[in-house]
């Protein structure tokens, strides 16, 4: 009874292909994962964010060179700390985040599940959706990825870093479902 649609599995990567939604209303019943390219994009993003961490060993190193009062051990300690944090941000967190992210869209609801330490599962009745956008920053664009942003009257939700065609699919699917659900009532 549960069927997975071919176009949402990983095989679907042909950009620019259009889709006909007729007869597709009973679509995805299973949770989808994000494309593995999203990990790469997050790694780039997180390495940019972890640059400020290196200000600390940089400052200590500056003191070490120009002011002998700082011992080399402190410098080493800060460098190791910075390496550890950077590794955490750049390698571990994107991996966990990717593993935890799951989403499901059907004619009734949008079901999101994500979180690194705190796992959140969010349900949004499709009828409540006011608008859906796709958004793309420079990093996501370089990997041909895009976020889908879903807004209700009170909240906004994001399915991050989907491949461009999937993002477009999901967006138009949600808006079709939303329109249909509203017509039903």
């Amino acid at each position: 009874m549960r069927e997975k649609l071919i176009w949402l599995t990983n095989g679907f990567h042909s950009p620019g292909s259009t889709f006909d939604f007729k007869g597709m209303i009973n679509s995805q019943k299973e949770q989808q994962t994000l494309p593995s390219a999203s990990k790469k994009a997050w790694r780039i993003n997180n390495s940019l964010w972890s640059l400020p961490i290196w200000l600390v060993p940089g400052y200590v190193g500056f003191l070490y060179v120009f002011n002998a009062e700082v011992s080399i051990w402190i410098l080493l300690l800060t460098v190791i700390g910075a390496i550890f944090l950077t590794a955490l941000f750049v390698f571990l967190l994107p991996e966990i985040r990717w593993k935890r992210w799951k989403y499901r869209v059907d004619e009734h609801e949008i079901d999101l599940e994500h979180g690194i330490f705190i796992i959140r599962r969010t349900l949004i009745p499709v009828k409540r959706v006011q608008h859906v956008d796709t958004r793309q920053g420079p990093i996501l664009r370089s990997y041909n990825l895009g976020d889908v942003v879903i807004s209700t009257a009170a909240t906004t939700h994001k399915i991050p870093a989907l491949s461009e065609p999937t993002a477009d699919q999901v967006r138009s699917e949600i808006s079709t479902f939303a329109r249909k659900a509203k017509d039903d009532v």
């Binding site: 959140r120 599962r121 969010t122 949004i124 009745p125 009828k127 409540r128 209700t152 009257a153």
Partner: protein
């Protein structure tokens, strides 16, 4: 024949007061911060701001014109950016004529024109004479509407009016300490710059003779609390004086206020949720207040999100009241509570919270170690939070009850829920617990209702309940459908 007209010049004054009212917290901070012992730039800053606002008020009065042409109200306003508002007679739904304090002094009225629809435009003429207002109303009223209105009003409206005894009880038990406490506290922190400490000490000794040994800190605290309480009492008296709730066919009409009578109309289809609040001082006496969350009906003066539906009511009468006023929110639920394992998380959380106060007090304040006694009320509150956490559904209605300090319950209809969420942190995962959050629209944003430490199965059930799909397979609700998260 209908020339563009200006308002009465008093509109400049009301504009000024409006700006001051909007910014009173900033001004207060400026005043207290900037009024040190040697310089007084705060006073100049406040004065400067007031003068600027006054000039702004006059200019905005000058730039505001209105006229009625071809049954269309045209308003032009704005100091730098000209805004033009055109409202046709057919779309106008409500014309509210009211008078605030300033208006009453000058024998003027303000006119509010409201239209319906999703893009609810709204126009307000701040100060015109009553005859002018009547003229406008005549010009803008479509012919059929008013009679219908009258007829409805006389036939099917129920009215609830707060009695004078209730009002005073409400005022004395109003727990609105938070805001007033911080203001009075802020004022007190500045007092030592005006009066020197010796004199203040003598003042307190005179005020509370027995307190000589107790210490200045305690008496000051008591004093601050009493003053905040008085503020809170008068605030409530003024706010809810003559509170009248009228139930009409399609809307609730609320009138209240001593100096400035406010009037609110809330169409039933805008109601998103209701909340029953048992404020700390009211709970022991078995009283509560009811608050409405509504959305999509913007009101300039008071952004209409949370509105008091009734300020003071016996808890045992709440259900009957809801049944009479908004029957679709009357639900009899069999509530579920968090499991026993959750108790220790509720208690621990309160311990952490109280440690935020205790540790600095211990270190920095003499005799601060006695703040350890705070743990006792903290644990009691933690237990009460555990005991009062409840969630339940009945048909399409959900009830969530929780406590932070005071006990609150929210009643939500399924088709008003914007989203629901469960959250599990690593500690909760070990114990099989989760937090549950609901969001409904309120004003232009949202309001969330949350209940902590539910059993995982319960949380998932209530999460999936909000899905429209669950209505269709209601009978399978009790069966186990919570395997998705694993």
């Amino acid at each position: 024949m209908f020339e563009p007209r200006r308002q009465h010049p008093v509109a400049g004054l009301t504009q000024l007061l409006h700006i001051l009212k909007e910014n009173w917290i900033t001004l207060l901070i400026l005043f207290f911060v900037g009024t040190g012992s040697e310089s007084a730039w705060g006073i100049y800053a406040v004065l400067g701001f007031t003068v600027l606002s006054a000039v702004g008020g006059v200019i905005s009065w000058w730039r505001f014109t209105y006229q009625v042409e071809d049954g269309e109200l045209q308003i032009k306003q704005g100091i730098f950016v000209r805004k033009q508002l055109y409202l046709s007679r057919e779309r106008i739904q409500v014309i509210d004529i009211s008078a605030g304090l300033v208006q009453r002094v000058f024998d003027l009225v303000s006119v509010e024109v409201k239209t319906a629809g999703s893009t609810s435009k709204e126009a307000k003429i701040d100060a015109i004479t009553r005859t002018e207002a009547e003229r406008l109303k005549r010009l803008l009223r479509s012919e059929e509407l008013p009679k219908e209105d009258e007829a409805v009003k006389s036939e099917t409206s129920k009215t609830y009016k707060i009695g004078i005894k209730e009002l005073f009880l409400a005022a004395f038990t109003s727990g609105n300490f938070g805001v007033t406490l911080s203001i009075v506290g802020g004022a007190f922190s500045q007092i030592d710059q005006v009066i020197d400490e010796d004199r203040m000490l003598r003042f307190f000794e005179w005020l509370i003779p027995a307190s000589v040994g107790v210490g200045l800190v305690f008496t000051t605290l008591l004093f601050v609390v009493i003053i905040s309480w008085l503020f809170s009492i008068f605030g409530t008296l003024i706010k809810y004086y003559d509170f009248t709730l009228t139930v009409k066919d399609d809307a609730l009409l609320i009138k209240r206020g001593l100096f400035e009578q406010k009037q609110l109309t809330i169409p039933f289809d805008r109601i998103q949720a209701i909340q029953i609040k048992e404020e700390l001082l009211r709970e022991p006496f078995g009283y509560a207040s009811i608050v409405l969350e509504s959305a999509g009906y913007a009101d300039q003066q008071q952004s209409l999100n949370s509105t008091t539906l009734y300020p003071f009511l016996k808890k045992v009468e709440v259900q009957q009241f809801i049944q009479q006023v908004i029957p679709e929110y009357n639900a009899c639920v069999e509530p579920v509570n968090p499991p026993f394992v959750a108790l220790r998380r509720y208690l621990l959380r309160m311990v952490w919270v109280s440690l935020i106060v205790i540790v600095p007090a211990w270190i920095f304040v003499p005799y601060g170690v006695y703040s350890l006694f705070l743990l006792i009320p903290a644990l009691i509150i933690g237990y009460a939070q555990y005991r009062d956490a409840e969630i339940g559904i009945s048909g399409d209605t959900m009830m969530v009850q929780w406590r932070l300090l005071s006990r609150k319950a929210a009643i939500v209809r399924k088709h008003r829920i914007q989203s629901a969420e469960t959250k599990v942190n690593p500690f909760q995962r070990r114990l099989g617990l989760m937090n549950y959050t609901l969001t409904v629209a309120s004003g232009s944003g949202g309001r969330t209702f949350a209940i902590r430490e539910l059993e995982k199965e319960t949380g998932n059930q209530f999460l999936e309940w909000i899905s429209p799909a669950s209505t269709k397979q209601k009978e399978s609700f009790d069966t186990d459908q919570n395997s998705i998260i694993d």
